[in-house]
């Protein structure tokens, strides 16, 4: 967990203007890994009550483009953000409740980076998503498809 001062430095270091919404968004993403935009908006408004949703969308885009946060979006989910960047780690997603956990790939540094046939593409990233059931959902005998594609919120906290 970083301090406000550090967030400001991170913004400066990325050649981004330092504004209250951006500092708050950066803090929210650090505090709530894998949170969706709506959760981030709520978190930001605890700091800056009157921010518009647009400001949060804009900030998230700026931070993502600058590489300060990473955007992930498993199929059927809305966009989610995390502050752990630069290590090309992967994610495990629960098919039932949507919980997300981090995973370092078994293959090591640059996992699965080379496809056996790249069809002439210049590949720069390999994104891996493991699908399954989280500990809670794999024990509880609920219909696995029941709450699929629900607006998952903060399940992982």
């Amino acid at each position: 967990m970083a301090t406000t001062v550090e967030y400001r430095q991170m913004l400066r270091g990325a050649a981004l203007r330092v504004t209250r919404p951006r500092v708050a968004v950066l803090g929210a993403v650090h505090a709530h890994p894998h949170a969706d935009t709506d959760s981030i908006i709520s978190a930001v408004r605890r700091d800056v009550p009157k921010v518009s949703h647009q400001a949060v969308y804009d900030s998230l885009r700026a931070l993502t483009d600058a590489g300060l946060v990473r955007r992930i979006q498993p199929a059927g989910s809305v966009a989610r953000y995390e502050a752990r960047v630069g290590d090309n780690h992967h994610h495990i997603v629960c098919r039932s409740c949507g919980a997300i956990a981090d995973a370092d790939c078994a293959a090591g540094e640059a996992p699965c980076m080379t496809a056996s046939d790249d069809s002439g593409f210049a590949i720069d990233e390999a994104e891996v998503i493991y699908w399954g059931l989280c500990p809670a959902c794999s024990t509880v005998p609920t219909s696995p498809s029941a709450n699929l594609a629900q607006p998952w919120r903060e399940h992982h906290v």
Copy 2:
């Protein structure tokens, strides 16, 4: 490329009722790999001019649930469908134009199936998406982010 008769048998084999929309949707997915729903609707209407979009959505869901087609959805894209199922192959997506190509994973049969730390999840699938530039986009010096997240259509055909 299969025949109408074969599509009907595939539906029967999956315990699905055989209807004109479903046969046409199954045919369209076979004919246009990685097509989005809108493209599939257009293709289906060449066969069955008056199908509703809802019928196509319903058919695609039924076919997906039955395992006759596979749904993929790279981040920032709408849902896409393909008929190549059961072999756990992966995809290469162009960041610029959205073209999609198939890729057998370098790791072989069940690629990257085991995360180094599964956080207690019961993993049943590893989905890999390679991101990069397709042959056309990597030679043409256009802004790579220009048409990102566009409604890509039939680029791959």
